[in-house]
């Protein structure tokens, strides 16, 4: 699943001071989430201050266990709504991580009919030819 069509660039995030920690970690094959040490809460997507206590110096990056379950997903089956750099069909899964945060990504070696709500998955990383590092999810033992 999620194979690329050659020659079409993959879109990328705009890195700024708020999300740099997140994408730097991905570059190093780590998944981190923003955490407020004072409120002991995770916030995703990362933001410039803790929405609960409005402080900045209590924000830290905590490494995720990388494990989660598929909370929901969509399957792109026609080119109408899909991004042309991806071979059809491909899934985008919303994964609820053990930390409680939900993130979206593509899947790795999961057949279309295996993609189901509740499937245990874990994160893995891949290097794209354009130098970008992205994460995906593969099956794991529950």
């Amino acid at each position: 699943m999620a194979e690329y069509v050659q020659g079409i660039p993959i879109m990328r995030p705009y890195i700024d001071q708020d999300n740099q920690g997140y994408w730097d970690a991905v570059k190093n094959h780590k998944l981190v989430f923003q955490h407020c040490s004072k409120c002991d809460k995770y916030h995703h997507p990362p933001r410039p201050m803790c929405p609960s206590c409005h402080s900045q110096d209590t924000l830290e990056w905590k490494e995720s266990s990388g494990k989660g379950i598929i909370y929901s997903f969509v399957m792109f089956t026609t080119n109408k709504m899909a991004y042309p750099a991806f071979k059809l069909p491909y899934a985008v899964v919303l994964v609820e991580m053990e930390e409680g945060v939900r993130i979206t990504a593509n899947t790795h070696e999961i057949e279309p009919d295996e993609v189901q709500v509740g499937l245990p998955v874990e994160v893995m990383f891949e290097e794209l030819p354009d130098g970008q590092t992205l994460y995906r999810f593969k099956k794991r033992e529950a």
Binding site: Y14, D16, Q17, R47, P48, M49, P51, S52, H54, Q56
Partner: protein
């Protein structure tokens, strides 16, 4: 018959300003959240009580972002506006119509270092040909090399010189007085000390007759202004600043700095329409104004605003500013005691912030008896303005 007039129906109760810079080193999202936090502190308001948000369309993240950044439960009123400080009108209407309690107008724009720059670099690099990014009509100008606002304004200014005889030696008093005022304002980062008219005359002529010092520089900054009802304002931390009037105006054959097809191109009819409405709502006239916060993004617009708003007669704007005496603090009509945009950078909401400080009596360059202040924005295009007064 209108149901109500907005006269005295709303008040400014909090302002938050981030230190301006040419490389702020933060995201616009951060700046938006932080300036609102500062404004809420200033007002003595719990951030979670904010239920309205308005902004200029190009300046900083959408209300839903800022709300998410601040953890606010629910916004019951939010919108965007294009020009000058016209979003203020949305804030006033939101509060006055009973749609929200506390509406914050935020402008978080990193015009030097922010994504706006990245987007334009990106477009140049990739030659993105997306027509939706060029909504404003320059198809009859750009092919001839008439590109950029200084050039657009210069075309009008040359005609203004021809028709009224205004000279650079007269217009130069705007940046000179701005620099004098800016030197007293720590947030006005472009002048440590005042300049002279000679300095102005030596300033580089970039689009003749426009000089470098005729144009406000770009800057990174963020400002938040909180609006509520005068009733709620009574129990808050600061002395409220009453919004006596608020209006906007446009006029036929208008374009952004390029209304060249009008019969007369050396007037600001949008500003005149706006000013007439502003004074009508407030029930006062130009003579009652103690201090004017005018749009000095490009200096030729200052004398034109003085004319359009009735502070002087047609063609008398140049004489009004010459020598600077009448527009300095202590003069007949002080203008921009904070240093204006020439001193602080292109950031329209600074005018409202300075007006609020003047009425509170906390300006770095206080005008005695500044209890009724006019704020004008959007010179050269759709105009908007406020009359603020002491409670």
């Amino acid at each position: 018959m209108a149901i109500e007039s907005i006269k005295d129906k709303t008040a400014i109760v909090g302002i938050g300003v981030i230190d301006f810079s040419t490389n702020i080193g933060r995201s616009e999202w951060y700046s938006a959240c932080q300036c609102i936090k500062l404004a809420a502190d200033d007002a003595g308001l719990n951030i979670y009580d904010i239920d309205g948000m308005v902004k200029n369309i190009d300046d900083g993240p959408d209300p839903s972002y800022v709300q998410k950044g601040l953890g606010i439960d629910n916004l019951t009123y939010h919108s965007e506006s294009h020009w000058g400080t016209s979003a203020m009108m949305n804030a006033v209407q939101g509060v006055a119509s009973g749609s929200c309690n506390y509406c914050v107008y935020y402008q978080a724009a990193h015009r030097v270092s922010g994504p706006e720059k990245s987007i334009s670099d990106y477009r140049v690099a990739r030659e993105v040909k997306d027509d939706s990014l060029d909504m404003i009509r320059y198809d009859f100008f750009s092919p001839f090399g008439l590109i950029g606002q200084p050039g657009y304004v210069a075309m009008m200014y040359r005609r203004y010189m021809h028709e009224t005889g205004i000279t650079p030696e007269q217009l130069g008093w705007i940046p000179v007085v701005d620099s004098e005022n800016a030197a007293k304002n720590p947030n006005a980062i472009f002048f440590d000390k005042p300049i002279t008219i000679d300095d102005y005359m030596k300033s580089k002529v970039i689009a003749d007759p426009i000089r470098e010092l005729d144009c406000a520089p770009k800057v990174d900054g963020a400002i938040a202004i909180i609006v509520t009802t005068p009733e709620k304002a009574k129990s808050m931390k600061q002395k409220p600043v009453i919004i006596s009037s608020n209006a906007a105006g446009m006029a036929p054959e208008g374009q952004f700095h390029t209304s060249y097809t009008r019969d007369v191109i050396t007037e600001l009819p949008e500003m005149k329409n706006m000013g007439d409405e502003l004074f009508r709502i407030a029930g006062i006239g130009p003579k009652d104004i103690k201090l004017a916060m005018l749009d000095d993004t490009f200096t030729p617009y200052v004398p034109l605003q003085l004319e359009a708003l009735g502070f002087c007669g047609k063609g008398e704007g140049a004489a009004f500013i010459e020598g600077g005496e009448r527009i300095r603090v202590g003069g007949e009509l002080p203008i921009n005691p904070d240093g204006g945009l020439i001193g602080q950078g292109r950031f329209d909401t600074t005018r409202i912030v300075e007006a609020v400080r003047q009425i509170r009596g906390t300006s770095t360059n206080q005008v005695a008896g500044a209890d009724t202040i006019l704020v004008a924005s959007g010179a050269g295009g759709p105009a908007d303005g406020l009359i603020l007064r002491k409670a």
